[in-house]
Every structure is written in C-alpha cells, then in structure tokens.
C-alpha cells in the first residue's frame, strides 16, 4: 500500500477501513539466504537495502522483542555528519545524504527535519579544533559554517553567551543536520523491507550460532533453528552478549546513556545545540518536548536506566547555556545500552567465522548512522566487500594500530 495525503483523505472519508498492517507477522522459515539478527534501526535498514538495492531475496530479520525497541526507539533523534576523521566523515556524510531522500525512498514520513545543528565554542583551542573539523567536513563534500556569536544570538536570543562561566565565543554549524522522528525510522524501514518480501520475525531470540568447520550455518532461536547462507549481527548494545555465543570477545563495552524529554512546549528551539564546555545537547521535538542529553553515566551497564548524578550533570549543562529553561519540567528520563567501542568508531566487518558478519560499536552515534550503516552492511553482506565509505571500520584496526579516535580518548570506551 502506498501512503499519501490523498490516501489519508480517502480513508478518512471511508471510515479508515482500508488500512492494513504496516508489516506482516510471518512464521520463520527453516532457511534464508541472509538472516539479520536485530530488529532495530540498523538491522531493519540492512534488510531493506539488501532487498531494495542489492537484489537479495529470502531475507529475515530476527528480533528478540518488538522491532524498534532498542536504541532507535530511545535516542535523542539527531542526524548530522560533522565528523573529523577520514575514516568517519565520508560515511556519515553518505548517511546524511541517504536521510535526505529517505522518506520518498521508503514512502514513510519520518519527519526528517534539517533544522541544523550548532556546536558551541568556548575557547580558542576549541575554535582551532572545530575549524579543523569544519574544513574536514567541507573537504569531504559536507556543509559547515563557522558562526559568530551575533549570528548565534539571532537564532537563539535567549542563549546565555556572556556573563557565563564559559562564555560562548562562536559555533560550528551544520545546517543540513537536524532531527528525525526516531520510531518512524524503524517503522519505515520495516514496512519497506516487509513489502519487498523480508520476513520480520518478532519475539524470536537468537540463543546460539551453529558453527561447523569455521562456517556459520545458522542460528538457534527461541523459535527453533533457522539456517542461513549469511548471518549479519546488528544488535548494538547486546553485541558482546551475542558474539560471545560465537566465542568472540569484542573491542567493546556496553554503557548506559541517559536521555531526557521535557513536557510539551510551544516552539523555542529551532535546531540542535550542543554545549562545548559541559555535557548537554538539546533539540525540540515536533510535539514540543525539549529532547536533551549529555554524557554516559560512565559504568558498564545493560540496565537501560541510569542514576541521578548524570541527570544533574546534564541539567547543569542545560542551565548553563539556557537558563530560560529552568522552569520547563523534565517529563521522562530513560537509558539506552550503548555499544561503546575502543576508539569511539564502529565496526562493519566480516568475522573470522565464514558466513558471520558483524555491525556494531556505534557508541552513541548509531541513530544518525542508521541509513548508511544499513546500506554499507548490506553491501558487505551482498558483495563480501566493504562499501567504499566504510573501509576503515575493520576489526583488525586495533591490533594494527589504525584507530579512528575522534575524541582522542584512547582505549577507554566510556570516555568516547
């Protein structure tokens, strides 16, 4: 079924009887060409692109709970491609370009809104670093603009630029950055994949891999064995747990990242703003909630919830730059499991086991990467070769010393 304004009107006039399920609820088959583990944004996007762009058939996505229930359903919805390093910037710019055409591509309004992202600058050293970054973005074909305080004030007149502990001295803007209705991304990919024949199987937990002679033949699941030609794992925060079933140890830790939303408010935030001297970033959803977050709690966790000190730290950052938000009320806080890698950058690579492929280590940058991650993982699965924008995301980069460390924090995941 094709969605359109006309269809909405037609259904409204005929009692909404014509709407059908957005995706099927199929029984798993005994064998697929490709099985994707993980019905989150990345897994669904992978299946979608495998079917749509790489002509693959007989694909299944296995999800242990409900689709879109991981980080795609619990993030702060930001998209951007303001990366510094060669290994990253082309990939994230590819992702942003995919975002730009995504809704028309998968016929679902994910409310992709390029309202811009602004990284605030508070020191000369930060200005130097952001200049280098902005230049790297432009040299990679992305957009970047260095804004003066005055330009920033025009967009955010209530931003506390002066008379502050860390006065604002400028900002690096990426106008093509923005926000997306996060759940809709999962649903849009799911619907698009389903309509191209992909079996999306919910409530199907993978309990093990069947590996013989160095080749992975399929997966044991809570709904029985499912054979597969190739298996792609895209389970983000659960990566270490899943891959341990294949006796793999990953360069990764799972950490909790909290996020927050305020009560609905009339529009005040035109775009996304990140604080450069504290842990805080914020945007406003179409519903009116201020959506904000900050740093990791800092300890390994699979609990999907965090603790009070981080909540306070984030709100302190918020009040430092937006003291006008003091009387807005925080409505809800939640936590996601971040697959924090050892250099802060992801892995999209084959494993040492034939037929077993891995996608993970997204840290807290996974949402914006969803389209490119799906596309590049599909490329790898379909062609057994990395997509040109994802060649650096190898497992062996740590062993060989080719880290992609945007923040320069080294092998301590909670600092990335």
């Amino acid at each position: 079924m094709r969605y359109s304004g006309l269809k909405v009107i037609k259904e409204a006039l005929t009692g909404h009887k014509g709407w059908t399920p957005a995706w099927r609820d199929p029984e798993p088959q005994s064998h697929y060409d490709i099985v994707i583990i993980g019905g989150g944004g990345h897994g669904l996007a992978t299946a979608y692109y495998l079917a749509k762009e790489f002509g693959q058939k007989r694909i299944a996505v296995l999800e242990k709970g409900w689709i879109g229930g991981g980080n795609v359903g619990r993030n702060t919805t930001i998209i951007r491609s303001n990366y510094l390093l060669d290994g990253n910037e082309p990939f994230y710019e590819f992702s942003l370009k995919l975002w730009e055409g995504l809704e028309q591509d998968f016929n679902y309004n994910a409310m992709i809104s390029q309202r811009g992202i602004l990284n605030l600058i508070h020191s000369d050293a930060q200005r130097d670093a952001f200049t280098r970054r902005g230049n790297a973005m432009i040299l990679n074909g992305a957009d970047a603009e260095m804004l003066t305080v005055r330009q920033i004030k025009e967009r955010y007149p209530y931003l506390k630029t002066d008379d502050a502990r860390f006065p604002i001295k400028g900002g690096l803007a990426q106008h093509r950055g923005g926000t997306v209705r996060h759940d809709a991304v999962a649903w849009g990919y799911a619907r698009g994949a389903d309509s191209r024949g992909v079996d999306i199987i919910q409530n199907c937990e993978v309990t093990g891999f069947r590996i013989e002679n160095g080749t992975c033949l399929g997966v044991e699941t809570s709904r029985g064995f499912i054979g597969a030609g190739k298996i792609g794992c895209a389970v983000a925060g659960s990566s270490s747990r899943l891959m341990s079933k294949a006796d793999m140890r990953l360069p990764m830790e799972s950490h909790v990242l909290q996020a927050f939303v305020s009560e609905g408010l009339k529009p005040v935030m035109p775009g996304v703003v990140t604080f450069g001297a504290g842990h805080f970033y914020c945007s406003q959803s179409d519903k009116g909630g201020l959506v904000f977050g900050g740093d990791l709690d800092g300890y390994n966790s699979y609990a999907q919830r965090g603790n009070l000190p981080t909540v306070e730290d984030v709100c302190e950052g918020g009040m430092a730059i937006f003291p006008a938000f003091g009387r807005a009320r925080l409505l809800r806080m939640w936590g996601g499991i971040m697959d924090m890698s050892m250099d802060g950058s992801p892995i999209i690579d084959k494993t040492h086991i034939d037929g077993l492929y891995f996608n993970g280590g997204w840290c807290y940058g996974g949402f914006k990467a969803t389209p490119a991650s799906g596309y590049c993982f599909a490329h790898l699965l379909a062609k057994d070769a990395p997509h040109p924008t994802a060649t650096a995301y190898r497992f062996d980069r740590f062993e060989k010393g080719y880290m992609i460390d945007e923040k320069g924090m080294g092998n301590q995941p909670n600092l990335h």
Binding site: P21, I138, R305, A324, L330, R397
Partner: protein, 981 residues
C-alpha cells in the same frame, strides 16, 4: 465574585480569603484551596485545551496526575507553563492563564482541528506531508510545531534559585496517607531515623478526602493528631510539598521539595525548590492509588471528572464542581461520591452503574446502564444514558463523576525495571516482580484499598523494613477504620463508542487504539509510540489502563498478556532548574584562581578560562588598542630582556619513595633512573595504547624525591593514571604520590635578563655553572623563605621557574616586579606564552590531542625499548609506524602578510583540494613578532622529509587559501643556545 459552588465544611481556612486572577479575570478563594478547587468554587469548569484537537478541558483529577487543567502560572520571567491547577496551592495575588489556544480559551481558533479529527487519526502524519521533500521544513512542520506543544516559556532567565541537599535515613516513607502515617508512627516510635515525604501541602492523603472515621475521630483529624505526634519526635523529619521523583540504585532517592512555590515570590536568599538526594536504608512506598476513568463518547468535556476527585473537592475543599452532579461507575467506590455530595446538599442527578447488581439507594436514583454520550460545548450540560433494559435517557447535569476502579500507584516500583502483576480482584496491576531493593509497598499502592488495610499494611511494612536493618519496632493497636472490600466488575469502555477519550491530554481515543491494532502496532510499546497514548504529562497515569484493556480485547489476550509500558522517573514532571541547583551562570563550575590573580587584576589583565582556572591572557597597557599589540609587546620584551608569567596551573605531583625513579621509568616512555639529583628532565607519558597522554618535567630533588609536572588540562587524569600504575600494576613499589598543584605558587621568569633579575631574589648562587640548564633545587629567597627553583624553559629563552608556598605567591610576584623594574620586567599572559612556545616548536594541547603518537611528535626515538613503560609495546604497532604518517612541522606563509590559521588543512601546491588529497593540518598558529609574520605548527604526512616544500594551506570554512612553506618547527633559536646561556 462570589464562590457560587462553595459547600460547607472542608479543610480550608474560611477566614483567609485570597484573590487570584485566571485569564485576566479576578476571583477569590480561600487559604487551603488549590487553583483548581478555587476555580471550581467560582463556577469555572473550562480551564484548558487538549493537545491535538484543542478540545475544551476542565479538571479530571484532584492531584498531580492531572492531564487536563494545565495552566501557565505566574507571569514574566517566573512564568511556568503546564502547571497543574490541581496541585497549585492558592496564594494571594496568584496569576494564571490558560494555554495551548489561539485566541481566547472559549473561542480557540485551533479547535478547527477537532472538526478535522477524522483526518488527523493516530499516525496520520507518517503517511503524508512527504511531497515535495523540501516542503516539510518550510511548510508542514512549522504549522505542526506551532499547533503542537502545550504552554510556552517566557524565554527569560529563571530568576529563582534552586538548592541541592543530601539526607540520610533508616527508613523513608513515601506518601503520608493512612498507610504512610501508620508506617511513620511505627518507625518513629521505634527510634529509627525516619523521613516522611508527601507531595501535598496538607498531609493525610485520602484521609482528607473521605468522611470515614478512624477510631473515634474523622480521618482528617486522626491524620492531624498523628502528624502532631510525629512532629514531636526528633528522629522523624516530615517533608510536606516534597515529591519523591525517582528510586535510583542502592536506596538513593531523588526528591523535590517545593520550598517557595506556594508564595508569591521566594524570600530573599531562599530557593524556589530543593532537590534532595536521599540515602535510605529502607523505604516504604505508600503512594496510594489513582482512580481511572471509563471511556465513552465525548467523555472529555469540562465537568466530567473522576468520582474520587469530585469527592476530594467536596470533602477537603468544600467545593462542588456543579450544583447538579451525576455519577458513572463500575464499582462501589463511585457510590461514595454520590453519598458524600448528597450529604453536602448537592443534587445527585443519578448514579449510573454499569453492573446489573448495582447497590440501590433511597436518596437518589441509581440506574443500571451506561453513559453513551454527553453534550455541552464548553462544559457538560447533558449525559445520554443507555439503561440495562435497552432504553435511553438524557440526564441534565453539570458535573459527571466517573469511576472505573482504582490503580495502585505502582510508578516508583517500576523505576528499576520491575514489572507489576495483575490482580483480578482489583482488576488492576499491583506491585510485582523485582521491586527496587529495600522498598516495601504498603496501603493502596500495594492493593490494600481500605483504610483499615492501609493502616495495617503500613505498620507491617514498617516493622518488616526496620527488622531488615536490625531495628526492632513494635506493632501497636491500630484504630478502628473502614474496611470495605473492593467490589468491581471491570468495565473499560462503552461498546460502540469511537471518539471516547483514553488519553485526554494527547487526544487518544478508542478509535485510535483500534486503528493502531488494525495497522499492526500491537505490541504495547508500539501502541504507545504510534498513538502517543500515555506520553502526556501524566505519563499514562490516567490513560494507560483503558488503552491496554482495549488492545487486550482486540488481540484476544488478557491485559497482563498485553503487558505494560515502563514507568520511568520522574514521578511527576520536575523543573529542569531543580536538577541544576546552584550550578548555573558563573557558578556552573568552580573557579580556580592563580596566586597572582589579585595582582593581575590590579594590572588590568584580561583573563581567560583554562579548564576551571582563570589565567591572565594578556596585560594591556594604555594606548594599546588590540590584543595583538599587547601580546607582541610581551613577547618582544621577554625575548629582549625578561618577562614573568604565572605557571601555577601546571599540575604538580610529589613522587617520593625508594622506588620513585623506577616508578617514573614506568610512567614515562623515556628513562629517568639515571637522572641525577638536582636535575630536571622532559618526560613524555604514553597511554597504554601508545598514544601520547601528556608531557612535562620531572625534577629530582633527592634520591627518593621527584616533582612531576603535568599540563594544566591533564593534571587530574594524569594523577589518576599514576595512582593506577602504582596501586594496580606495581602494588609493591615503595612510592607515594600526592598532588601539590595548589601548594606552590610558581612563576616562569624568562628572557636574557632572567638570571640577573632572580639574583636579586634568590639567596643562592644561580650562575650558569652553579645552576645550569635543567638544574633544580630547594632554595630560599629574600633572606629565608623556602622556595624551589627549576631551570627549565617553555619559551626557549634563558628561563627559570620559581615556586614558593602559595600564600607567598602574591608577595613574590610583587617582589619580582619590584626588583625587575631595573630590567623593565614585563608580565606576560597565556597568549604570549603560546606565541613563544610555537616559535620554539614545543607541542602543547593542540598537538597532544589524544591521537598523536611519540612518532608524530618527532619523539619516536624517545620511547625506550630497554625498559618496560606504559605504552611502549603498543606504540610499535604498524599503524603508528606506517609510511605517510604525520610528523610535526612548522608552517610559514610564502607571502609574509598571509595568515596561516590553525585548523586549516595542508594540500600539495598544485594537486586537487579535497579530502582524498589531504596532507595534514595546522594545529597551532600565531603571529610571531620576532619573525614578523604568521607561523604555525602542524602535522604533515612524512613531514620530516618535506622541509622546504611549498604547499597550500586551505581553510574553506573561513575562506583562507594561502601558499605556505614547510619549515622546521623550531622557528626561534633552533640550536637552543639561548636556553643554555
């Protein structure tokens, strides 16, 4: 205006009449009212508009779960959007305005959405507004955003302050209703350290809303008496107006005390609210229960509210929502409202009970049947009934109390991902699964719905919780109290209804849930996300159950099979300002001042934030119009004669012990074992991954005593790392560490005349022979003050760093300036410091950015292979030693008038300019007053082999594209003659 709906009795102060204004109109209320009760007393039912369809809304509840009566409270910078009228304590001069409307509250132009509702069903926006792509941001989204949202912020800085605080107790009791009071009394009498917190300003919970007796007094009187006893116990802290917002790990709770919200403005110096972090050993959750509505057509009109709320307004606030009231219930509790209102003289139009065996009553009509529709544009006027016999009837009424049963308030039991379990007798979820460790649930929150049950379970919960932590508490005789069983027949929605509201704020109706099911959004989380059910400011407290019940029916499952979404903190929405406390504005982070700060201020220095430090950036002099003039002067004066700079901010770690030298050998990649006493050495510290972590110097003051310096930024992480190496990796080395960063005031005295200057201060011989380059010593100055002297140089000049105990730092800078006057000594700031280190080619923060290796810095050979040091093995990896790797270089413009900005990228002179051909980048840049042109340090692929190459330095971001030459990073005195002079 008179309070036309005011009844007799209640717990308000009739002698204290308060004036307040709502939507520009002035009313009166009484002390003890909430804004909602006062408005109802004045006959105002219409208080707001719903989120999506802008339907007229009045109060639904009498508590913090209120989804409808949200107002903008106060004005100016103190405006608080989305404030629940049901929790606002009335004060004299209160100002409130309705919100989320275009035009007036009565004639909201956006009410057009209600007419279009058939097009605006659940998820409609996912299916349209996609063409053309560019129209989303430009057209559709702005319209949607403008219509969405609820209240508006003032966008002025919040003028109030917020405190934080920390409390410790044996037992915290959340909720001061019958269960909570009973628990508190038991624990208080046992001598435990008790905190009793309640969100209300009047404690007692439902006891204040009911007419039941407790013992020989009214419930409210019993509550008052109990509170009086508790107040007399020094071990009990009673915290009214305090909402416990979250159960965090290991018995830590967050709570917000509203210190000043019931006042016009906070008193001078007093906070508006306090965020308490409460460390508890045990907790009794006695948060009561929340009544739930029933869904029927047009069940959202002002005047339709929860039956229990009607009762609260009547019994506690002495208010009836209207003169003529009807009740619609599926359980016995609804009848209580009718009885109480009747007793207060309110006309009961009828009680409609969905059960065939509804209890009969003499004083008013009880009908078996359902409410199938209502009328009244801005407030309820009529209710249409369908009776059990199939007949229909229309009731005239201005208020309709609805009771669909009670949900135990399990919110906080779920904060650590516990999931409630279903109780068939109550037709409700009760606490279950894994509760937050240390939490006991009592009273209605645990499904004990009678007053007696609450008293008993509160006491038992308290005794059990205290027993766990070794405190003996006695169960005492409890007063007699109401002990009626719950009699309920589940009834969630009226068959055939469509525009029957489940989530009244977000406008989610029965029809939307059905559509969600039809489209495959059947998981409870999908239902929530697709329809927005339960995402309103009450987070589903009043709406979730109805949605779950309908989804269960559609899916052919039971409600527990459908499951629940997760309650997450905070329990009620909480001001962002409260979480930030005092940490905002200039108090966002602490300030660290250097010992010369006062003196520098006197000189008119311009200061800059360096981490938490404030450092002098430059010292402008009269006549200087740009910062460059000042900085150039400072550099030239230093290089020409002598300059002085406060370098106290560098981290200092005292390293002592027999194994101190061996320890430094571990943490630095270069060797320290053979450093003689009285000498200082540059050291490069690697992380275990072989990347440079920090650099600095280590001065050997004695065989077993070193002073290690770190960069300003890394003082803390380096110290932590050193402790890690000491405690975790080499636990039996004899080495002790302590930070002395702030113990010493340290000044760099640099320039050809620095020795001459210091000879006037230092008591010892500091000639080049006696105190050569890299010497260090404990000395005295000015005739006896203990001090330390290091002959080290960041500027490349003959230079010293001199340190005295911090208290003497102010005196020392003044002394240096005084004796230095003969040499025209010039104070310099961080800018000149930066210029001189770039001229000298010293790496600093911009170069040591966490991705650079020793090799990148041209120090690869410093990494000793003869010893075990942190990072040495992994620094040998291929990627850190690959051809084409970056090397530090100097960059100068071919045309000396061109800039060479930091952050610009290096490209070959005639190759393409794009990322694929990127050759490196400039890290630090400045204007060199010595050379008369801009210079920069940078990293360039194979840079060490490209000295002399002409390249392009481009910064498309800032519009720079200049021809540059790659040169040695040592722009000034590459041979180092000056430092050794």
């Amino acid at each position: 205006m008179t309070q036309i709906n005011r009844l007799s009795g209640g717990q308000i102060d009739r002698d204290t009449t308060l004036q307040f204004t709502f939507d520009g109109k002035t009313y009166t209320g009484q002390q003890g009212d909430t804004l909602a009760s006062a408005l109802l007393a004045n006959g105002v039912r219409l208080m707001g508009r719903s989120f999506k369809y802008h339907r007229p809304r009045g109060v639904l509840t009498a508590g913090s779960e209120e989804p409808n009566a949200l107002v903008e409270l106060r004005g100016g910078a103190r405006k608080e959007p989305n404030t629940r009228a049901t929790t606002v304590e009335l004060y004299d001069g209160l100002l409130a305005n309705s919100q989320n409307r275009l035009g007036s509250l009565r004639f909201d132009l956006l009410a057009i959405n209600d007419r279009l509702s058939n097009f605006l069903t659940a998820g409609f926006y996912y299916k349209t507004f996609m063409w053309p792509a560019a129209f989303w941001e430009k057209l559709y989204e702005p319209i949607i955003r403008k219509a969405a949202g609820l209240g508006s912020l003032s966008l002025k800085e919040d003028p109030d302050v917020y405190d934080k605080g920390f409390l410790h107790c044996d037992l915290m009791i959340i909720g001061a209703g019958p269960a909570g009071l009973s628990a508190a009394l038991t624990a208080g009498r046992a001598g435990a350290q008790v905190i009793l917190a309640d969100e209300d300003f009047r404690l007692g919970g439902r006891l204040n809303s009911e007419t039941f007796a407790v013992g020989d007094q009214t419930g409210a009187d019993w509550a008052t008496a109990t509170l009086a006893e508790l107040s007399s116990l020094p071990n009990v802290r009673i915290m009214p107006r305090t909402t416990v917002i979250g159960a965090f790990d290991h018995g830590i709770y967050g709570a917000v005390e509203r210190v000043s919200d019931h006042l016009h403005t906070p008193k001078d110096g007093k906070p508006r609210q306090i965020l308490w972090r409460i460390y508890t050993k045990r907790t009794v959750l006695a948060a009561g229960a929340i009544e739930r509505p029933i869904a029927f057509e047009n069940n959202d009109r002002p005047g339709i509210m929860l039956a229990s709320a009607l009762r609260t307004y009547a019994n506690r606030f002495a208010v009836s929502a209207d003169k003529r009231v009807a009740i619609f219930t599926n359980n016995d509790d609804g009848h209580r409202t009718a009885a109480d209102l009747y007793a207060k003289g309110v006309k009961i139009a009828a009680v409609v009970d969905s059960r065939p065996d509804a209890p009969r009553q003499e004083n008013y009509e009880v009908l078996s049947g359902e409410v199938i529709n209502t009328k009244g544009r801005l407030g309820l006027t009529f209710a249409d009934l369908r009776l059990a016999d199939g007949s229909t009837r229309t009731l005239e009424c201005g208020a309709l109390g609805v009771s669909g049963g009670w949900n135990p308030n399990v919110h906080m039991t779920c904060h650590q991902r516990g999931r409630p379990t279903w109780n068939n007798d109550l037709a409700a979820f009760v606490p279950g699964g894994t509760l937050p460790p240390g939490m006991t649930v009592a009273g209605a929150a645990n499904g004990e719905m009678s007053t007696h049950g609450a008293l008993v379970s509160g006491q038992a919960g308290s005794v059990a919780a205290l027993h766990d932590i070794g405190i003996k508490a006695k169960a005492s005789d409890l007063p007699q109290a109401e002990d009626a069983p719950v009699s309920i027949t589940p009834f969630w929605y009226v068959q055939g209804c469509s525009r029957a509201w489940l989530d009244q704020q977000n406008d989610v109706t029965v029809k939307d849930v059905k559509l969600s099911h039809q489209e495959g959004f059947r998981s409870v989380e999908h239902l929530k996300r697709y329809t927005t059910l339960g995402m309103a400011t009450d987070q589903g407290k009043t709406s979730n159950m109805g949605g779950l019940a309908i989804m269960a029916e559609l899916a052919g499952k039971t409600i527990p099979e459908v499951g629940t979404t997760i309650f997450r903190p905070p329990y009620t929405p909480t001001a962002i300002g409260a979480f930030a406390g005092r940490h905002r504005g200039m108090d966002f982070h602490p300030t660290r001042l250097t010992p010369s700060h006062t003196w520098a201020e006197e000189q008119g220095a311009v200061f800059v934030e360096v981490g938490n430090w404030m450092r002098a950036q430059w010292f402008p002099r009269a006549g200087e119009t740009t910062w460059r003039e000042s900085v150039d002067r400072e550099v030239l004066a230093t290089r020409g004669s002598v300059g002085v700079c406060d370098v106290t901010t560098l981290g200092k770690v005292d390293v002592q012990g027999a194994d101190a030298a061996d320890f430094l050998n571990k943490i630095y990649c270069n060797g320290f074992a053979k450093l003689p006493v009285g000498k200082t050495r540059y050291g490069l510290m690697l992380r275990e991954d072989g990347i440079a972590m920090d650099d600095g110097t280590a001065a050997r003051l004695a065989e077993d005593h070193f002073v290690v310096t770190t960069t300003t930024a890394n003082a803390l992480p380096v110290y932590r790392h050193m402790e890690f190496v000491r405690q975790c990796l080499f636990p039996d080395m004899d080495v002790q560490l302590i930070s002395t960063t702030e113990a010493w005031a340290q000044y760099a005295v640099a320039g050809p005349n620095s020795r001459k200057l210091l000879e006037n201060i230092v008591d010892q011989d500091i000639s080049n022979d006696a105190f050569p380059f890299m010497a260090c010593a404990n000395i005295t100055i000015c005739g006896g003050l203990r001090a330390r002297l290091f002959r080290i140089s960041f500027s490349g000049e003959l230079a010293f760093e001199i340190a005295v105990p911090t208290a003497y730092g102010d005196a020392l800078i003044r002394k240096i300036m005084e004796v230095g006057a003969a040499f025209d000594v010039t104070p310099y700031g961080t800018e000149a410091l930066g210029v001189m280190r770039i001229e000298k080619g010293h790496a600093a923060g911009n170069e040591l950015n966490g991705t650079t290796s020793a090799q990148n810095l041209g120090m690869g050979r410093m990494v000793s292979k003869k010893k075990d040091s942190i990072g040495s093995i992994l620094s040998e990896r291929e990627g850190l030693n690959a051809p084409g790797d970056l090397r530090q270089v100097g960059i100068k413009p071919v045309d000396p008038t061109d800039p060479v900005p930091a952050g610009a990228h290096l490209m070959t002179a005639d190759g393409p300019v794009d990322a694929a051909h990127d050759q490196g980048y400039a890290t630090s840049a400045c204007f060199s007053p010595v050379l008369g042109h801009a210079i920069a340090l940078g990293f360039l692929k194979d840079g060490d082999q490209r000295i002399g190459e002409k390249m392009r330095l481009v910064s498309p971001l800032t519009g720079v594209d200049v021809a540059v030459e790659i040169v040695s990073a040592h722009f000034v005195d590459p041979e180092g003659d000056r430092l050794r002079a």
